[in-house]
């Protein structure tokens, strides 16, 4: 069991980990996902102390391994690590890569190390390659050897830092097969990856990293199908988001129009959807809401999903319940309703911005 307590990693210019606390149980297979530069790899490298955390504690089976007096090599023996760039020892053959550490560190006999090594090579489907040097192997083969090398120490935890990111697309599959096979060994695993479907298929837990910490932590079903937080949902569905805040009728609506234009260009939004986003924005704000709301601020959020070719415009505002659809004479409402896929209104007293209008636009 690994327990992270207020873990912090600070560099001079950036702080990838601000305050990370969580418990990793034995046997957990955790996918760590999230945007680039949000500390996924840093978290992994802190756990086996390749990066020394600048604050907080890591308890590995109850022992504080961040204690300066603790010999980190003891923890590292029990935590295998697989690197993005393989890092096989170039001066050693494949089998020697697998034998060296068990003999040097665990003081295994040569025969024992050799037998374990050969068995692991079979497991990663590389039997017969034992006398080759790393530079004679393909990227996928190298990564499989690297996995076998980590397994040769029989660790209880395996950390995989983007194991398939440096590979040709053709070789990603063979490495994923080996990793999937590993999940059956009952070891605790943490894998940083950008392959969402793969992550979902192998893990029982997902860390979504954002804003310098574990932003959302849940089962794959929770995170992938039903994310609790907006940022998670946007990341999972690869949503392109634009937010506008309108505080008064004096708002620069022409300027907002060109912002929508730019946003559409950036994200390759088809012109018919773009046209309807503008329509929805203008009808909602200028025609329907501001004549009534006057000085109550309105939050407009636009989300576009390329995969589904769908845009959603959401308008949130406070100031008491106000549903524009109840106004039968409102021509704008009818125009908009006719032009879009779905137009709905919800009211939630609890929320500060209690009124929500949701507009779904499809091509």
């Amino acid at each position: 069991m690994i327990e992270l307590k207020h873990l912090e990693k600070k560099y001079e210019d950036i702080t990838p980990l601000k305050d990370v606390s969580t418990v990793i149980n034995d046997g957990d297979v955790i996918s760590v996902i999230g945007p680039s530069g949000e500390g996924k790899s840093t978290l992994l490298r802190c756990i086996n102390m390749l990066e020394r955390p600048t604050g907080g504690q890591i308890l590995f089976d109850g022992v504080d391994i961040t204690d300066p007096k603790y010999d980190v090599t003891l923890a590292r023996r029990r935590m295998g690590m697989v690197f993005q760039s393989f890092n096989l020892f170039g001066h050693l053959t494949v089998i020697e890569n697998l034998m060296l550490a068990p003999m040097d560190i665990l003081k295994r006999s040569k025969q024992e190390a050799y037998e374990t090594g050969i068995a692991l090579l079979k497991r990663v489907d590389l039997a017969g390659r034992e006398h080759q040097y790393p530079d004679q192997l393909s990227g996928g083969q190298k990564q499989r050897v690297a996995i076998a090398r980590a397994l040769a120490m029989d660790p209880s935890v395996i950390l995989l830092d983007e194991p398939t990111s440096a590979l040709d697309p053709a070789m990603v599959g063979e490495v994923q097969t080996v990793i999937r096979d590993m999940t059956g060994m009952g070891k605790t695993m943490m894998i940083v990856t950008h392959e969402m479907s793969f992550a979902r298929a192998i893990c029982n837990r997902v860390f979504f990293m954002n804003q310098g910490g574990i932003y959302e932590d849940g089962t794959p079903e929770q995170i992938f199908d039903n994310p609790g937080k907006d940022l998670t949902r946007r990341f999972i569905h690869r949503l392109k988001v634009m937010e506008l805040k309108i505080e008064s009728p004096d708002y620069d609506f022409i300027g907002a129009g060109s912002e929508i234009e730019q946003y559409s260009m950036r994200n390759n939004i088809p012109s018919r959807i773009k046209y309807r986003i503008r329509l929805a924005f203008e009808e909602l704000t200028q025609q329907m809401l501001f004549p009534v709301l006057k000085h109550t601020p309105v939050m407009i959020t636009v989300e576009y999903s390329e995969a589904e070719s769908q845009a959603i415009v959401i308008a949130c505002y406070g100031g008491g319940r106000f549903d524009p659809s109840e106004d039968e004479d409102n021509l704008s409402y009818s125009v908009l309703k006719g032009a879009v896929e779905e137009l709905s209104y919800t009211y939630d007293e609890e929320d500060e911005l209690s009124n929500t209008i949701r507009v779904v636009i499809r091509e």
């Binding site: 086996n48 390749l50 090599t73 003891l74 590292r76 023996r77 935590m79 295998g80 690590m81 690197f83 760039s85 393989f86 890092n87 096989l88 020892f89 170039g90 001066h91 050693l92 053959t93 089998i95 020697e96 034998m99 060296l100 550490a101 003999m103 040097d104 560190i105 040569k110 025969q111 050799y114 037998e115 090594g117 050969i118 034992e130 006398h131 040097y133 690297a146 090398r149 980590a150 120490m153």
Partner: protein, 532 residues
């Protein structure tokens, strides 16, 4: 009036030497063969009494436009110009043998030297003559450190020596009878201890190194006469002429000798015991018609003179020993030093690393000969240490600096991921470095290492500057005895080639041992035990 000044540096540069050898070999070998036929015409030192028809030049005006040579540091240009206002060129040599060779081969026309050296050269070489007029008369002196309290004692001891004894000594050492030139043993009790005397090793007949490395000559025997009077024993240190005064000033020697002629300028630096009349003489060629000025004696004669006579091969053997000693010790200590410093700096703090970089830069940035002289005359100036010891220190520093740079560069070629992978398997920093990083860095380091070793053995040829008699120096000594260039130079060059080849052979063996692709595999002979 146009004059140029040319300095002939001591011939210590190995590269220049190798090149010279190549050129000499290709041009001269055919010539040598033809030389063998008329070998009987050659004047060897054995038949020095051969008749000559007088000097080629007899009047100062004859020397107009000619080249006049002298030793480096001899301040006598003005003296020559006062007699011959239109000298063509002055050239400077670091030793008498080179100068005599240059005279015989017509690279120069007159050689300025003192009466002792000039007399001997003329007595030995029938094709050389003394220019009839003395440029200036002076006196020889033994140099003592300024204000040395011992000078008076030695002056008193000198005053007890009779004129007849002095003249007999002079005739003995400037004559051509080699068999008479033996040194008396220091057979007096030596109750008053042992003193050190710095003497020049190539200024025959005043002080020079004879067969077996023994220091001998007129000056040396004169010092012994005085020493006997004072009942002290003398330890002679042989060295370059230019080093003697610094040696005395630094207190490493009580007195210095080497046919030093007393001048006002020198009097400002040291005090003297004056001991024999000196004169500045010019040596010129004899004008015997039809006699060829060949540099090269017949092969067998040259070989005999270079190696066999007076057991001169022993000099070469001693030189090889010294050169190998300095080279091998410097390689071993330098490798250890460089590596240890690298290990200390690898995870060291930035300040310590900056200091190391500065020292490396300093050592690598100056000529080794300057480094050696700084070590010898300044850092170890007041301590009694041998030149060999200082040479080993100097070359160890140099080689250590090179090793540090080499290892640093080699290790930098190994990807940082290798170290991380080793850490992640539970290796400690040190073990990861030795088991993983260093083994991969070595193939990058070894080619440079081999190159530096080859360069080092040749670089040691400069240790003559700090009074070490290595192979090159021994070659110089033999040349000073035979006045021949070809055999001693070629022999020294060949010996360097052979020594380099032997060292390279050993390093190649070492490289094979550590080549990662040739080492014994961990999995060698391993089989899966069939336990079914």
């Amino acid at each position: 009036m146009q004059r140029t000044r040319r300095h002939f540096p001591p011939q210590h540069c190995p590269a220049a030497r190798s090149f010279t050898v190549l050129v000499l070999t290709s041009i001269v070998l055919p010539l040598l063969v033809s030389c063998g036929a008329k070998g009987s015409e050659y004047d060897s030192s054995q038949n020095a009494a051969a008749v000559s028809s007088g000097p080629e030049y007899t009047e100062y005006t004859d020397l107009s436009g000619k080249t006049v040579s002298m030793l480096t540091g001899a301040p006598f240009e003005e003296l020559v110009l006062s007699k011959v206002p239109d000298v063509g060129e002055f050239t400077f040599f670091s030793g008498m043998p080179d100068m005599i060779l240059a005279l015989k081969s017509q690279k120069t026309d007159a050689v300025l030297n003192n009466n002792a050296i000039a007399s001997l050269a003329v007595n030995r070489n029938a094709d050389l003559e003394l220019f009839p007029q003395s440029l200036k008369d002076g006196v020889f002196g033994f140099a003592f450190d300024k204000g040395s309290p011992d000078r008076e004692k030695w002056q008193a001891a000198y005053d007890t020596i009779s004129e007849e004894t002095k003249q007999a000594l002079w005739d003995k050492w400037t004559g051509s009878d080699e068999s008479a030139k033996v040194m008396p043993a220091q057979d007096w009790p030596g109750k008053n201890g042992t003193i050190t005397a710095a003497v020049c090793d190539t200024l025959e007949p005043m002080s020079y190194t004879g067969e077996g490395g023994e220091v001998k000559g007129f000056d040396v025997e004169m010092i012994l006469l005085m020493a006997k009077e004072l009942d002290v024993h003398v330890d002679f240190k042989a060295m370059e002429f230019a080093a003697i005064i610094s040696y005395v000033q630094s207190g490493k020697a009580l007195l210095g000798a080497g046919s030093i002629i007393v001048t006002d300028e020198r009097k400002q630096a040291v005090d003297f015991v004056e001991y024999y009349p000196a004169a500045f003489m010019l040596i010129v060629r004899a004008s015997h018609p039809g006699n060829e000025h060949s540099l090269f004696a017949p092969v067998t004669d040259s070989f005999e003179k270079t190696f066999i006579r007076e057991n001169r091969w022993e000099l070469f053997l001693q030189g090889i020993g010294t050169t190998l000693l300095i080279t091998v010790l410097s390689i071993i200590f330098g490798t250890i030093l460089g590596f240890v410093v690298f290990m200390l700096c690898r995870n060291g703090n930035p300040v310590a690393n900056a200091i190391t970089r500065f020292l490396v830069w300093l050592v690598e940035g100056m000529p080794v000969v300057v480094l050696l002289m700084i070590l010898y005359y300044i850092i170890f100036g007041k301590v009694s240490v041998s030149g060999t010891f200082v040479s080993v220190i100097g070359f160890t520093l140099l080689f250590g600096a090179q090793i540090y740079t080499m290892v640093k560069g080699g290790v930098a070629t190994v990807d940082k991921g290798q170290l991380e992978a080793a850490y992640s398997l539970g290796y400690t920093d040190k073990k990861a470095f030795f088991r993983i990083v260093l083994l991969q860095a070595l193939p990058h380091i070894m080619p440079t290492y081999k190159g530096q070793i080859k360069a080092l053995i040749k670089a040691t040829a400069i240790v003559g500057y700090v009074a070490v008699q290595d192979l090159t120096k021994m070659g110089d000594i033999v040349r000073s005895r035979t006045y021949e260039a070809f055999f001693p130079l070629i022999s020294v060059a060949i010996i360097y080639f052979v020594l380099t080849a032997i060292l390279t052979f050993f390093v190649n063996r070492l490289e094979l041992c550590i080549d990662p692709k040739k080492r014994k595999s961990l999995s060698k002979g391993m089989k899966i035990n069939d336990r079914t």
